[in-house]
Symmetry: C2
Subunit: 338 residues, 2 copies
Amino acid sequence: MRTTIKDVAKKANVSTATVSLVVHGHNRISPETKNRVEKAIKALNYYPSKSARNLVSRKTGNIGFILTEDHFLKTEPFYTQIFLGTEFEARNQEYYILLTTIPTNFSKDDDLPRFILERSIDGLIIAGKVPDLFIEKIEPFNLPIVMVDYYTDHNAQSAVLIDNIGGAQQATEYLLSLGHKNIAFIGGDLEHPSISDRYHGFKMALEKNKKALNENLIVLTENATSREDGYHAAKFLHQSQTDFSAVFACNDAMAIGAMQYFKSTGIRIPQDLSIIGFDNIEGDLYQDPPLSTMSVPKIEMGQEALQQMVQILSNKKKVLKKILIPVELIVRQSTKQK
Amino acid sequence: MRTTIKDVAKKANVSTATVSLVVHGHNRISPETKNRVEKAIKALNYYPSKSARNLVSRKTGNIGFILTEDHFLKTEPFYTQIFLGTEFEARNQEYYILLTTIPTNFSKDDDLPRFILERSIDGLIIAGKVPDLFIEKIEPFNLPIVMVDYYTDHNAQSAVLIDNIGGAQQATEYLLSLGHKNIAFIGGDLEHPSISDRYHGFKMALEKNKKALNENLIVLTENATSREDGYHAAKFLHQSQTDFSAVFACNDAMAIGAMQYFKSTGIRIPQDLSIIGFDNIEGDLYQDPPLSTMSVPKIEMGQEALQQMVQILSNKKKVLKKILIPVELIVRQSTKQK
DNA sequence: CTGAAAGCGCTAACAT
DNA sequence: ATGTTAGCGCTTTCAG
């Protein structure tokens, strides 16, 4: 049998209330009693029962973490890192994270995660793009929500977002500063806020530097932004016969795919062509040459999300914040002065 | 305020005890009452409070899932898939999974996961290789443990394991059946049970078929078994000038790296050299040629682990089982009749 | 077949 | 400064 608050009280010769106060660090307990209680706690190796606490506090101490299956199983551990960040922070903040996935094409017949139905969580962190339908369906549960790396104002929530616009500008301007005049952009589905923001950042940088936008240098694939898509985008670009000396890929996966294509045609990187990506994934380092990119602090984003959640949970007032996480230019060997 | 069992009882004109019995599907309730109660539950959208249940049952309804950080963040979503399998199954079995990582080099100064210290879990699933020290440190907590894809008999637990020996034999015999006489093996740290088992399976198949083992055709890298390691192992093999027409790599990552090296030297696959891997990771399909391999059912392994845990948790008797999950030969284009 | 009631371990008024 | 006590929502004997 596990030791309970009663055991501690008995051993320390106080009431359970006193023990409870000591455990919670209330200062209206005399130092001596406090000391005695603490000793008893140590001696008995007492840990308060979560269940009992939860029952009386009407909270669960759990925070749900949701992402779509494909995001979780993706080769790049992008969301996995974000999860890890929230898990790290949850340790400090005394919360547990309940991770679950939802089908990538969540449909109206799909059940909501059990922890939502059973109300086993105090709040919900949603990472990455999820179907609108899902957001709608959880609305009635009135859970505090923090989104990470995705945002929809379908119903207002707090969000932790990458500074995609700023980062894309920075990347583009870096390329410009290297003397490149004709810069191509390869990307995917503009419905995705991250991608469209990066695209915008790219255009803004050109405008700001009074460079005309050459439509032929913009290649947007239908949907995904994988290595394969990058490969094909590069091929398309190459075969369009338009002149360019640098490529800004909307993410590293596409950049890597593109690089692979260009190299296969004999184009040398960075001598003939500079390429920069976005995300800073592990694979960048194993490329030949290693890929220049914009670094996204994934762990930190996860931590930030958890902190936001804790704030929402402790203050009653619902401050809806959008937090923009800055990204950092990482120069490696895939970019070069023209 | 959330609806409680009392609300349901009042609405259905019964006692809370009756509601409880209905919820648990006891059959000593008359059909009419049962019906009435069920209607009330629906109408009020009642879900029993986990905390209250946990408190009275002295269980938490949670199962911990532990892996090392590097395993979780690996590029290949191998353990991620295993986790997903346990999570899927946990949904059926009414458990929540608490996922946490431990440092890859867990040292004696590292804290144990909070959910162990606070006893917030009923059992623990450990996936992949973890430091012995960790296993030792959790022993006093006397938690039911199920290991997945790793086993140590430091203290006896149940385990869900890949049939590595059988799979390696199968792969090797397949290569033999193709007419290959000189088959190389590339692998890593034999301290790791999976790798050493695959190595043994390889040797056993040779023996069984009365083929001598050529030491020059065995390349074991120091530690890891990544693409890079495969690349270097292949290089080493190639430069040793020993004759071989087929390679069995201890996993797909190494196989892919090896293939990359061989192709770079002009060796054609499968015309000049057959390669087979192990694991069946997603990347296999994107290789040129697509990689033949032994398929490991990761999701199923996770499910199996959870089921084992539930069994242990429901029976008091601790049956320690080792479950061997069979693997399946997948023939793609990297292997060919000699 | 159903209800009354004790109690799981803890917290938070309210007393003292 | 500390103790008493009434719940939190549920399960589970034990009666009826």
